[in-house]
């Protein structure tokens, strides 16, 4: 059984549909990336999964408990790391963690041990008695993360946890996420940084306009994509441009050489690219152009995202 099951989730604000029939599952110990451009519906999805917003329809189940009927139980299983720095700047790191721990009902020796462990985990043991307001952006982010771990949740939701963070703190945070996951907790990780998602997520879901565009392991998604074809050609630049419209793009490399780029998407069928390539080669031959080299470019998540949504991730 999956730890988190989200089925046909819908949410609207007036006429605007924020989430439109989203479904996915997450297993224990898995880091699940949620990708989407601004306004795609991922934050709304996460706040509904966290129970902070009610869905118009659909079901959310965490560890077998329904959000509708058993929210009090679900609260104890959830750890939320909001995009805002949800810490008190006028409390020390230890006071912050003590407060959030006590709020979860943890007391005495257990609380002290958990706070010490989390401080070590987020690398703030040396700064435990420093006030939040005196911390760097990265330290604040780490404390923000630590506050969600005290009650050892089964699902941790991280919303853009590394925004405005220095490389050292980012690296530390990513290690922490991996550690949490290896301890058995599931993680939902939303980020604009593809390299982070590729580095820590086992599976990802790409959403746009409230809909799930694709979901799967990074390998399977990248395997399903098609590499672009690059044909390096000499001569006949002037004649080629108009004739290749709709088939390929022409980039000038020098006075003599051009590059014919054939973009491919996961929607292209094998026959479609075969036919296009045959046509392009025929046109090159007729124009008297000399084919110098044929090359391909491997796809990555950034490219996949662009193909699926038509937008760059940080547009």
């Amino acid at each position: 059984m999956s730890l988190l099951e989200v089925v046909e989730l819908r949410k609207s604000y007036g006429d605007q549909i924020a989430v439109n029939g989203l479904s996915f599952e997450i297993q224990a110990g898995e880091v699940f990336g949620l990708l989407g451009p601004n306004g795609a519906g991922k934050s709304t999805t996460m706040t509904m999964v966290a129970g902070l917003k009610r869905a118009d329809s659909g079901t959310i189940k965490l560890d077998g408990h329904s959000m509708e009927t058993d929210f009090d139980k679900i609260k104890t299983l959830l750890g939320l790391v909001p995009q805002d720095l949800a810490i008190y700047p006028d409390l020390t790191a230890r006071e912050n963690l003590n407060f959030f721990g006590r709020l979860q009902g943890i007391r005495g020796k257990t609380l002290r041990a958990r706070v010490d462990k989390v401080l070590e985990q987020i690398g703030l043991t040396q700064n435990a008695d420093g006030f939040g307001r005196t911390f760097s952006g990265g330290m604040k982010r780490r404390l923000n993360f630590g506050a969600a771990l005290l009650h050892q949740p089964k699902l941790v939701i991280l919303d853009e946890p590394t925004v405005g963070v220095d490389p050292q703190s980012r690296s530390h945070l990513l290690e922490c996420v991996k550690q949490v996951s290896s301890d058995g907790a599931a993680v939902i990780y939303a980020s604009h940084y593809m390299e982070e998602v590729e580095a820590i997520c086992q599976r990802i879901a790409i959403v746009d306009h409230g809909k799930l565009l694709t979901c799967g392991t990074i390998e399977s998604l990248l395997n399903s994509t098609r590499a672009d074809l690059y044909l390096k050609v000499r001569g006949a630049q002037a004649r080629l441009g108009p004739r290749l419209v709709g088939l390929a793009e022409v980039e000038t490399l020098s006075e003599e050489e051009i590059r014919v780029v054939m973009h491919r998407t996961i929607r292209d069928t094998a026959f479609a690219i075969n036919d296009r390539l045959t046509l392009v080669l025929e046109i090159l031959k007729q124009a008297g152009a000399e084919l110098l080299a044929v090359d391909t470019q491997e796809h990555n998540l950034e490219r996949l995202f662009l193909e699926l949504t038509g937008r760059r991730l940080r547009d």
């Binding site: 609260k75 939320l80 959030f100 709020l103």
Partner: protein, 410 residues
């Protein structure tokens, strides 16, 4: 209970927030000191500067005119100063060194000599006709007491009548003898009279001086006004939780909405009670105010006032969305309520309509209760109870609106 954790956290944060402590304690103390010392000038007789200054020009120079001036000296509200002539006295009046000029004309003695017993017994008729000028006396009030010149004329007329009456009566030997006899028969034994007098007692409700009367009004007035400033700090605290994102964490903690609201409200109630206690203590120690005959009654009034203030704060916190709204609407609400309720000036100074209008605020009920405890010679506990219950009703109404509005938090 997890709400107590929120209370502890907020108390810790408040104790580290010097701005809050300054506004809630230091600022009202400064206001009380400034307003108290300023208005004290109008009421108190403790210092000579607070007396009405009377400049006297005695052109008559008779024994009678001297007696009149001596009688005026006895009046504690007046500081009498003699001037050799009208010119110098008028200059002093124009320079505001004296507030009233009293000129006894050279015919004063002669006018008194013409009076008969009838003129004394019927001062409004006969030769005097109730007018000072018939004594050959003139009164001129300066700008400071311009509106009170008629009152001053009456005072001086009475003093003159008092000094000349024995002289006029003595001129009628039969009447003088009869009055003396009647006086001897009706006079009680002095020792017996002394025994019947109540033993002197320290009445706690009566302030030691006129100066402290001012603080009996100013301390509760400004205390109530500044207690309600907690509204702004509460609203800011709620908005802060929202803006920082910590509200999301609180909502995900195993705590109910009511528990969260109570946890957020109690620290401000505690701070408010500490604030009120400090201000009343300072009022007693620094300004010599009295806590009344039954000081314990202050406790429920303080508690109910703080409850009303924090409930109002909770309501406002759920109605506003930004810090800017708190600054604009919060301050407007707090200052307007303080103004119409009578926090800034005694309720007794307000027109009747304003006094009635003020009753729509919990401030007014707090002030009525404090006035009853601190200033009333006959303390009516039922009035205090009524005021407290009304403030509890205000608190319940504010809390209900706040609770209803806070459903957005879920």
């Amino acid at each position: 209970m997890n709400s107590s954790q929120i209370t502890k956290k907020d108390l810790l944060l408040l104790s580290r927030d010097r701005r809050t402590l300054f506004v809630l304690v230091a600022l009202p103390l400064a206001f009380i000191a400034i307003i108290g010392s300023s208005t004290g000038q109008l009421f108190s007789e403790a210092e000579n500067s607070r007396k009405h200054k009377l400049g006297v020009v005695d052109d008559d120079g008779s024994e009678l005119s001297t007696n009149l001036i001596d009688d005026l000296h006895i009046l504690k509200a007046l500081e009498v100063e003699s001037y050799p002539n009208q010119a110098s006295a008028r200059r002093a009046l124009s320079e505001n060194r004296i507030h009233i000029l009293l000129h006894i004309g050279r015919d004063y003695d002669d006018r008194v000599a013409e009076l008969e017993v009838y003129d004394i017994l019927h001062a409004g008729e006969g030769r005097l006709q109730g007018k000072l000028k018939n004594f050959d006396i003139e009164v001129e009030a300066g700008s400071f007491l311009a509106n009170a010149s008629q009152l001053i004329e009456i005072v001086v007329f009475s003093a003159a009548l008092k000094t000349v009456s024995p002289v006029v009566i003595k001129r009628n030997p039969k009447l003088a003898l009869q009055i003396k006899k009647a006086g001897n028969q009706s006079r009680p034994d002095p020792e017996e009279q002394l025994a019947q007098l109540p033993a002197p007692s320290q009445n706690e409700a009566e302030p030691s001086s006129m100066n402290s009367i001012v603080y009996q009004t100013v301390v509760p007035g400004y205390t109530v006004m500044f207690v309600f400033f907690i509204v702004n700090f509460m609203a800011r605290s709620f908005i802060g939780e929202h803006d920082m994102g910590t509200l999301s964490r609180l909502r995900l903690a195993p705590i109910t909405r009511s528990g969260m609201m109570i946890g957020k409200t109690v620290p401000f109630l505690i701070i408010s009670l500490i604030q009120t206690s400090i201000l009343f203590l300072a009022g007693k120690v620094l300004f010599g105010m009295s806590w009344g005959k039954q000081p314990w009654l202050l406790v429920p009034v303080m508690l109910c006032t703080s409850m009303a203030a924090t409930s109002l704060g909770l309501m406002v916190a759920t109605l506003v969305r930004t810090e800017a709204q708190v600054s604009a609407y919060g301050n407007f609400l707090v200052l307007t309520m303080a103004g119409i309720s009578g926090c800034m000036m005694p309720r007794s100074w307000q027109p009747e309509l304003m006094q009635k209008l003020g009753l729509v605020t919990p401030h007014a009920w707090a002030l009525i209760a404090y006035d009853q405890i601190l200033n009333s010679p006959t303390l009516e506990i039922s009035v205090v109870v009524h005021c407290c219950l009304t403030m509890v009703a205000f608190s319940a109404a504010y809390f209900a609106v706040g609770w209803w509005r806070s459903r957005d938090m879920e």
